[in-house]
C-alpha cells in the first residue's frame, strides 16, 4: 500500500488532505501522551482524568508569543489551542475534542468528495475535445456547443427535479454526516417486500435540504449525471438539431438518469435486491458503469437509431464509408483529460477518505489506471493485428472503454482483475463499433454507444464475476453484511443481481429513452435539414464557424453511391 501511495499521483492529493486536516488532530492528541506514559510508569495506580490531561496540554501549548516567532518546522502550529471550547472558562474538554475529531472526519470527506467532483466536472472538457475532434470541421462549433450547453441543461434540470428523484431517499451516509434531510423515498410493497422507486426531497435544494452535506452530494452526483448526458451528444453529432438536443438533455437530466440512479444509488429497488431477495449485496455499481455510462450509452443508441445515419455514411449496398474526424490531437488530448478526471470519478465514489474501508482509495485509483492501460493495449493490438495500423481514434476509445468498464467494479476488484476487465473492454469496443456500424447500421461518429453502452454493461457484469470479497466499507454494502463477492470468488447470487441491473438498463432505460425521444421527434423533430447537414451545422445552427480562419476546399460530393 505504501508503494502504491508513493507512486500514485492521487496519493499527493490524499497526503495533502491528511497533512491539512489529519495531522492537526494527531498533534492535538499527541501532547498529552507524554504525561500519561509517565504516570503509567510511576507507582501511582491511577491515570489522570482526561480533562486534567487536556488542561495539562493546554498549559504546555505554545503561546501567542511563541507562534509570533514563526514555525518553520511546522511543529507548534495546530495544537489544543486550535480546538474550539464550548465553554471558554472551562477550557477544552473531552467532548470538545471528540466533536473536533468528528468534524475533522467529515471535513476530510467533504473536501475529498468536492475535489473529486471538480475533477469529474473537468471531464466535460475532455468529452468536448474527443467528440469535436472526431467530427468534421464543418460541425466543430456545433459539437463543442452541445458539449458546453449540456452542462447547463443538465445542471438546471437536476437542480429542479433530478436530484430529488435520484437522491431524495438516500439518507444514511455517515461519511457525509448522515444526509438525514434526504430521507423521503417513495416505495411500494410487492410480495411482502418494500421496494424503493424514487426520492421525494431535495427539489431546488430548498427547505430542510438547505444543508451542507446535501450540497456536497448534490455537486458530486450532478457532475456524474452530466457525464451521462454528454455521451449522447457524441453519438448524435453532425445531424442533431440543437433545440432538440437541448430539450432532450433537460428531460434526461430530470427524469431518465435520476430514476435509474435512484434504483442503484438512492435506496431504490435494485440496491435492495440483497436485503429483499438475498441476491448478493444487491445491485452493485461502485462508480457508475451502469448508472452513468450505460444509461448514456443506451440513450445514445436510442437517439442515434432514431436520428438516422449521416449523409454519406452508407452506400446503397449497405456498406459503410469512414468519415474521418478533423483533429486527432484534440481527440487524444481529450482522452488524457478524461483519464485524469476518472481519478475523481472512481476513487471519489467512496464519498470520503476518512471512514471504515475508505483507505481503499489507493487500490481504486490503481485499478482505474490499470484498466485504462490494458484497455488501450487491447484496442491497439486488436486494430494493429487485424487492420494493420494502431488506429489512433480506436486507441483512444480503448482507453476510455477500459475506464468505463472498471468504473463499476473499481471498488471491489484486485489489480489483476482490473487489468483483465480493461483488456476485455479494449477488444470489446473494437468489436462493438464494427457491429453497431455494419450490422445494426447505426451511425455513431465517435463510438459512444460501444465505449459507454457496451462497456458500461460489461463493467456491471464484471462486478458479478471479479469482485474479490476483500473490500469492506464499514462492514456492509447496500445494507447486507459482508463484502461484495463475485462468481469467481464464490458468490453466484451477486452475478444474478448484476444481470438484473443489465436487463433493467437494456429493457427499461433504453425503452424510456426511446419513447421520450420518439415524442420529441413528433413535437420538435430530431434531425436538421438536408441543406444544413450538407453545408455543416456550424453556420445554420450556431451562426459561426468553429474555425473561421479556415475555409473548406470543396470536394467531390460523397452522397450515397
Amino acid at each position: 500500500m505504501k508503494t502504491i501511495l508513493r507512486n500514485s499521483c492521487l496519493s499527493h492529493w490524499i497526503l495533502a488532505f491528511v497533512l491539512a486536516f489529519g495531522l492537526t488532530a494527531h498533534a492535538q492528541t499527541a501532547a498529552p501522551a507524554a504525561p500519561a506514559t509517565a504516570a503509567a510508569a510511576a507507582p501511582a495506580p491511577t491515570v489522570p482524568p482526561a480533562d486534567a490531561q487536556l488542561k495539562d496540554a493546554a498549559g504546555k501549548a505554545p503561546t501567542t508569543a511563541d507562534l509570533a516567532k514563526g514555525d518553520p518546522g511546522g511543529t507548534i502550529t495546530g495544537t489544543i489551542n486550535d480546538v474550539p471550547a464550548a465553554d471558554s472558562k472551562a477550557g477544552v474538554t473531552l467532548p470538545d475534542v471528540a466533536n473536533q475529531v468528528g468534524q475533522n472526519k467529515i471535513a476530510v470527506n467533504f473536501v475529498w468528495t468536492l475535489v473529486c467532483g471538480f475533477l469529474v466536472m473537468f471531464m466535460q472538457a475532455g468529452f468536448a475535445m474527443v467528440e469535436s475532434g472526431l467530427c468534421r470541421v464543418k460541425n466543430a462549433n456545433h459539437t463543442y456547443m452541445m458539449n458546453f450547453f449540456v452542462y447547463t441543461c443538465g445542471l438546471f434540470a437536476y437542480w429542479i427535479l433530478g436530484f430529488a428523484i435520484q437522491m431524495g431517499g438516500a439518507a444514511g451516509n455517515s461519511n457525509l454526516g448522515g444526509l438525514q434531510p434526504l430521507a423521503s423515498e417513495h416505495a411500494i410493497t410487492l410480495f411482502g417486500k418494500t421496494w424503493g422507486l424514487f426520492g421525494q426531497s431535495g427539489y431546488f435544494l430548498a427547505g430542510h435540504t438547505y444543508d451542507v452535506g446535501v450540497m456536497v452530494i448534490f455537486l458530486f452526483e450532478m457532475v456524474f449525471m452530466d457525464t451521462a448526458l454528454t455521451i449522447v451528444t457524441g453519438a448524435c453529432a453532425e445531424r442533431w438539431k440543437f433545440i432538440t438536443f437541448a430539450v432532450s438533455s433537460v428531460i434526461m437530466g430530470a427524469i431518465t438518469y435520476p430514476i435509474y440512479g435512484n434504483w442503484a444509488w438512492g435506496g431504490g429497488w435494485l440496491s435492495q435486491l440483497g436485503t429483499n431477495v438475498g441476491l448478493g449485496k444487491g445491485y452493485c455499481d461502485f462508480a457508475g458503469s451502469g448508472v452513468v455510462h450505460a444509461v448514456g450509452g443506451m440513450t445514445a443508441l436510442a437517439v442515434s437509431m432514431m436520428i438516422g445515419a449521416r449523409i454519406g455514411k452508407y452506400n446503397r449496398d449497405g456498406s459503410s464509408n469512414p468519415i474521418i474526424g478533423h483533429d486527432i490531437s484534440a481527440v487524444l488530448i481529450g482522452c488524457f483529460i478524461l483519464a485524469f478526471g476518472w481519478f475523481g470519478f472512481n476513487p471519489g465514489s467512496t464519498l470520503g477518505a476518512s471512514a471504515a474501508g475508505n483507505l481503499r482509495i489507493g487500490t481504486i485509483a490503481v485499478d482505474t489506471m490499470l484498466a485504462g492501460c490494458t484497455g488501450t493495449l487491447g484496442a491497439i493490438i486488436y486494430m494493429w493485428a487485424l487492420k494493420g495500423k494502431p488506429d489512433a481514434s480506436m486507441s483512444g476509445n480503448g482507453l476510455l472503454a477500459g475506464l468505463v468498464a472498471i468504473t463499476a467494479p473499481s471498488g471491489f476488484v484486485s489489480a489483476a482483475g482490473a487489468a483483465i476487465i480493461g483488456l476485455v473492454a479494449g477488444v470489446l469496443v473494437c468489436v462493438s463499433c464494427a457491429f453497431v456500424e455494419n450490422f445494426m447500421k447505426v451511425d455513431d461518429p465517435v463510438g459512444a454507444i460501444s465505449v459507454h453502452g457496451t462497456n458500461g454493461l460489461w463493467g456491471v457484469l464484471s462486478v458479478g464475476l471479479f469482485a474479490d470479497g476483500t473490500s469492506n466499507y464499514g462492514g456492509s454494502w447496500n445494507g447486507v453484511t459482508g463484502s461484495v463477492t463475485g462468481l469467481f470468488y464464490g458468490d453466484a447470487s451477486q452475478l444474478a443481481a448484476q444481470l438484473i441491473g443489465i436487463s433493467t438498463l437494456m429493457g427499461f432505460v433504453f425503452t424510456l429513452s426511446f419513447v421520450i425521444n420518439l415524442i420529441l421527434e413528433f413535437f420538435v423533430g430530431q434531425r436538421v435539414s438536408v441543406e444544413t447537414e450538407l453545408a455543416g451545422l456550424d453556420i445554420p445552427e450556431m451562426g459561426q464557424l468553429g474555425y473561421p480562419e479556415f475555409v473548406f476546399r470543396p470536394e467531390p460530393a460523397m452522397g450515397t453511391a
Binding site: V137, K138, I160, L161, A164, Y203, F204, F242, I243, V247, V250, A254, M305, G308, A309, I311, G312, Y314, R316, N321, I323, G325, M440, K441, V442, A492, S493, L495, L499, I500, I502, S503, M506, G507, V515, F523, V524, G525, R527, V528, S529, V530, E531, E533, L534, G536, I539, P540, G543, E549, F550, V551, F552, R553, P554, E555, A557, M558, T560, A561
Partner: protein, 151 residues
Amino acid sequence: MAANKSQGSYFGLFLGAATVLCAGFAYFGSGTGKALFALGAIAFVGSLFGFLGIKQLEGRTALKPSPEGMKLVGAAICLFGWVVTLTGIHLTSSTGGRIVFALLGIGVTAVGMIYILPAAFNKNAVWKGDSLASEHASIPVAAKTTMEHSR
C-alpha cells in the same frame, strides 16, 4: 430551417414551464403548489405545441417515413424482456433460476434492440435510395476532412 428566434423563445418557455411544474410538484400538498403545477403543465404543453408549430419550417431531412408499428413493437419487446427478468425474481428463489430468467430477459430485449428497431428505422433509409448529395450538387460537401488556410 436552422436555429431561429422562435426556437429560442419556445425553449425559454419550455424551461420556465418545467421550473414552475417542478415547483408545483414539490409543494403539491399546498394550494399554491397545485396552482403552480397546473400553470406549469399548461405552459409545458404550450411549449411543445409551439415546437410543433415551427417544426415544418425545418424543411426536408435525410429521413424517410418508416413503419411506426414496427418501431412500437420493437420498443414493446425491449420492455417485455425487462418484465421477464422481473418476473423471474419472484417465480423462483434459486440463484440459478434467477440468472436464467435474467439472461432470457436480456436476450428478448436484445432482439428488439438489435434486430427489430434498427430494421424498422433502416427499412426506408435514405441511403438505400438516390444520392442526396447529387440532388444538392450545388452544396459543397466536406466528405473527406481537409482544411485549407484562407491566406
